[in-house]
């Protein structure tokens, strides 16, 4: 194997941050090399430098042993280095083919040679197994295919070294599988891939070697087969991390949340919930597994009052909350960690003080007649920041200036301090790094120990399996399976999530209600 890229002592400073502190990285030709690190560790900055998007303050880059200086992305692409960004850079109203040739259009005199373009796309797509529909508009195709378009775009420019910036963050588990196939095909064809991620499992599954970054410094490089997840996590975070949270045995109490025969429509007016019934007991975590878009979102919104139901009933204990406003449900003891923290969970242009106030603004001690007691709110914010270890220069900064993990901590602090009897946690760890995930998981387990009822909705199977006392699987607006903790395997859940018949998954029943306890509602065994 020969060395494809060598980055030596790269330093990059930003006004308040030393993003890369004498980083050295060697990538061999034809390998899948993972760049692992927490959010803000400097992975993306380093790769922006390699792809010509940013210039290093110090250090040098050697490509096949010769020093290079990239003045732009185009310059890097000419040298065979291309990057697929986390946020795709495609024109939504152009077709797949038009997007791929954009900036590099085959011409015939004055005109575009679309025939040649299409042939080229077909040839590339065939060679690497990158299935795309060349004539579909980009806005109409799923995210996974958009990503393939980005990769094809790089390949069509003759790129040999491809940088993928957290490519799995936006993908469903199924699409992740497909991406792996593509990555392996590219490696077979002699391409070099640099794979940025903060997910340990992905490193183990797909990469040949891994380099760990922390606080802008290289913690080490290793052959993937020589390291395990725990070791990588330690390098990444700087201490031992609990990857799979341990939960004490805890017996479930009375029923806290009961959903009966719920029907609802989605934003387009199509049926999204088709007769969903479930219950969550005190001291119990019920996990809902499922591929995105199978009604989980609508279920959460209907329970919390953000979406109207067609029919059905929602009970908190004995209290029927079906017709209550979101605020009344909140006061009745329903907490909610929303899946979209930037749209729902926080007002991004509010200070942390104002964000901590949300939902508390009408209750003592913050409400003083028609006024708000900001001294009290400030005290509450400082306290919450400390209790939940929110990394911020202070309570006055705007929420949008915090990292994703710290934004999530603000939401969690606020919802936990509401002391809800029932907590709906939707995708509580999406986009977070290992240390933050550990924090959230431990928080949920702590609530469980306090006899709270928790409904956990997650796309991450490992999260569902680690935390839940019972697991429900949602598919096309219905609950298609129910398991007790320890009885479900990822394979069984995966099959159900993909819509396979329950018999194939090893189960047998199909009653609409899945209950815990004496009536034997655990449908598998």
């Amino acid at each position: 194997m020969t060395t494809a890229i060598e980055m030596r002592n790269i330093v990059k400073r930003f006004p308040r941050v030393l993003a890369n502190d004498h980083v050295s990285l060697t990538v061999e030709e034809g390998e899948i090399h993972s760049l692992l690190g927490e959010n803000g560790a400097g992975k993306t900055t380093l790769m922006n430098i390699l792809s010509g998007l940013a210039a290093p303050d110090e250090g040098e880059i050697l490509l096949h042993g010769t020093p290079v200086h990239f003045r732009s992305c185009l310059d890097a692409i000419k040298h065979g280095i291309g990057m697929v960004h986390q946020h795709f850079m495609l024109v939504p109203v152009f077709t797949v083919t038009e997007n791929i040739i954009l900036g590099n259009e085959p011409k015939r005199g004055f005109w575009l040679n679309m025939k040649q373009a299409r042939a080229k796309v077909a040839e590339l797509s065939e060679r690497y197994g990158l299935k795309v529909d060349p004539d579909a508009l980009v806005r109409d195709i799923p995210v996974g295919m958009q990503q393939r378009v980005e990769i094809l775009k790089a390949l069509s420019r003759g790129v040999r070294i491809i940088i993928l910036d957290e490519p799995t963050a936006v993908l469903t588990p199924q699409e992740v599988r497909e991406l792996y196939v593509v990555m392996r095909a590219l490696r077979e064809a002699g391409h070099t891939i640099i794979f940025i991620t903060h997910k340990l499992q992905e490193v183990e599954e797909i990469t040949d070697r891994v380099t760990v970054l922390r606080d802008g410094r290289v913690m080490g490089t290793a052959e993937t087969q020589d390291v395990d997840e725990a070791g990588l996590a330690r390098m990444m975070v700087g201490r031992d991390v609990v990857l799979h949270v341990k939960k004490e045995k805890h017996s479930a109490g009375e029923v806290r949340l009961q959903v009966e025969h719920l029907f609802a429509k989605d934003a387009r007016g199509l049926p999204a919930l088709k007769d969903v019934s479930l219950e969550v007991r005190a001291g119990e975590i019920v996990g809902i597994a499922g591929v995105a878009g199978n009604g989980q979102n609508e279920l959460v919104e209907v329970i919390t009052g953000l979406r109207n139901k067609e029919s059905g009933k929602i009970l908190l204990g004995d209290l029927d909350i079906s017709e209550m406003t979101p605020r009344e449900r909140m006061y009745a003891g329903l907490g909610h960690i929303p899946q979209d923290r930037q749209r729902r969970g926080l007002v991004m242009n509010f200070s942390l003080i104002d964000n901590f106030l949300m939902g508390f603004e009408d209750s003592p001690p913050f409400a003083k007649g028609p006024m708000l007691d900001y001294a009290e709110a400030k005290r509450f914010s400082r306290e919450s920041i400390q209790m939940f270890d929110v990394r911020t220069p202070g309570p006055h900064v705007l929420a949008r200036t915090l990292s994703g993990g710290n934004q999530q901590k603000v939401i969690i602090a606020r919802e936990f301090r509401r002391d809800p009897a029932i907590l709906i946690a939707a995708q509580p760890t999406r986009g977070l790094d290992v240390a933050a995930i550990e924090f959230v998981h431990e928080g949920l387990i702590k609530l469980r120990a306090q006899d709270k009822a928790i409904l956990l909705i997650s796309m991450e199977l490992t999260e569902i399996l680690d935390l839940s006392d019972r697991i429900l699987v949602m598919y096309e607006g219905k609950i298609v399976g129910s398991f007790k903790a320890g009885q479900a395997t990822p394979e069984m859940l995966g099959l159900l999530m993909a819509g396979s018949n329950i018999d194939q998954a090893g189960g047998q029943e199909n009653t609409p209600t899945y209950r815990n306890g004496e009536e034997g509602g655990v449908d598998h065994g």
Partner: protein, 373 residues
């Protein structure tokens, strides 16, 4: 947050708070320079024009009084537009709300007879309430029928103009006895006192400044103001927290309309003592400029209202003495708005410079980095 950190944080906060005033001043200075270039392009003597302009605005007691007379309604209309913006609403209907406020205040002023302590507040309140109702209509249509407020408020302006014309036309219900197309004069008991002898300046300016303080307090310190700001920034997040965006939308438009109504009422009760058709030279429209130039903050609104009031009164003298058309002032006003809108791009640069300044010396970059997370 440990104690050693606190002073630093407070200091950075105070330095950053200078960004808005700097932005405000820069917009004006650049606009005046650009305005001078315009004047030179049309063979006018810009220096002379500006000096006459300033003389016309500040040169004598009477001139300065007129500046403040123009400032008064602009404070109200600027506050009206700013309050709407804080709830994410663009109230383009201030002109119509102002017409209705003036009409009702005038009616109460001439038709009812009561002691001053009741009459004057009632006339003001009447103007505010009817302006508020006129504002609540587009608020309701926006909240419950998703009809955009920019369209409805502009359309309602035309209705308000037409109603106003009808009221004081020959045979109209509010037509006075004089030959003028105007209402009867209001009673002395409904008038705002002149507070500066030798000028037309009334106690209306005190009411205006009081409202600026009240609006600041309302937006930044009350529960309902907090809810409106939440809805303004993110209706989805507000809804999640149990705030009803629809209710807030109606309230915000109603309060914005009430401020517009007060502008008209104060103009009638303090300056003209009667209602007539073209009593407002576009104060409602200028309110948009005042709000934007004032960066939606009540203090900024007062400053911006003063600036535009100065331009308005100065331009009249400029036309009379220097023979320069007062449309030049319209150009200058437009330039000020243009540059204060475009210099939003300066904000990140200014903030970045201050952060860099803070970083120098007393802050450890590694420490900072942790904050970034």
């Amino acid at each position: 947050m440990d104690k050693s950190k606190r002073p630093l944080e407070e200091r950075r906060f105070s330095l950053l708070s200078l960004v808005s005033p700097i932005q405000f001043m820069l917009g004006i200075i650049v606009a005046f320079i650009a305005g001078a270039l315009f004047l030179w392009a049309f063979q006018e003597d810009a220096i002379r024009a500006y000096s006459v302009l300033f003389k016309g605005a500040f040169g004598s007691k009477r001139y300065f009084g007129e500046t403040l007379v123009s400032t008064t309604p602009l404070i109200f209309t600027g506050l009206s537009v700013a309050l709407g913006f804080h709830c994410g609403l663009f109230n383009m209907g201030v002109e119509g709300q102002l017409e209705f406020g003036a009409m009702v205040a005038a009616y109460i002023g001439y038709a009812w007879n009561m002691p001053k302590v009741i009459h004057l507040p009632l006339a003001l309140l009447g103007g505010a309430v009817v302006g508020g109702i006129w504002g609540a209509v587009p608020g309701y249509l926006k909240a419950y029928h998703k009809i955009h407020e920019v369209i409805t408020t502009i359309m309602l302006n035309y209705i308000a103009y037409a109603v106003a014309d009808y009221m004081i036309a020959v045979g109209g219900p509010m037509k006075g006895n004089s030959d003028l197309p105007a209402s009867p004069k209001i009673m002395a008991t409904a008038r705002l006192d002149r507070i500066w002898p030798g000028t037309r300046l009334s106690a209306g300016i005190i009411v205006a400044l009081l409202m600026a303080v009240l609006v600041w307090f309302f937006i930044f310190r009350t529960r309902i103001g907090y809810k409106m700001r939440a809805v303004g920034f993110s209706a989805d997040a507000a809804e999640y927290a149990g705030i009803n965006p629809k209710t807030m939308t109606v309230w915000a438009m109603a309060l914005s309309g009430a401020l517009g109504g007060m502008a008209g009422a104060v103009e009638v009760l303090g300056v003209h003592y009667r209602f007539f058709a073209a009593f407002s030279p576009g104060y409602g429209w200028d309110g948009i400029a005042v709000a934007l130039l004032g960066l939606l903050h009540p203090v900024g609104v007062v400053a911006a209202a003063f600036l535009l009031g100065m331009l308005r009164s100065g331009s009249i003298t400029m036309q009379a003495i220097a023979g320069i058309s007062k449309e030049v002032i319209s150009i200058l006003t437009a330039l000020i708005i243009f540059f204060s809108a475009t210099n939003q791009t300066l904000k990140p640069m200014l903030e970045g410079a201050i952060r860099k300044h803070n970083l120098r010396g007393d802050e450890d970059p590694a420490q900072e980095k942790k904050h970034e997370g």
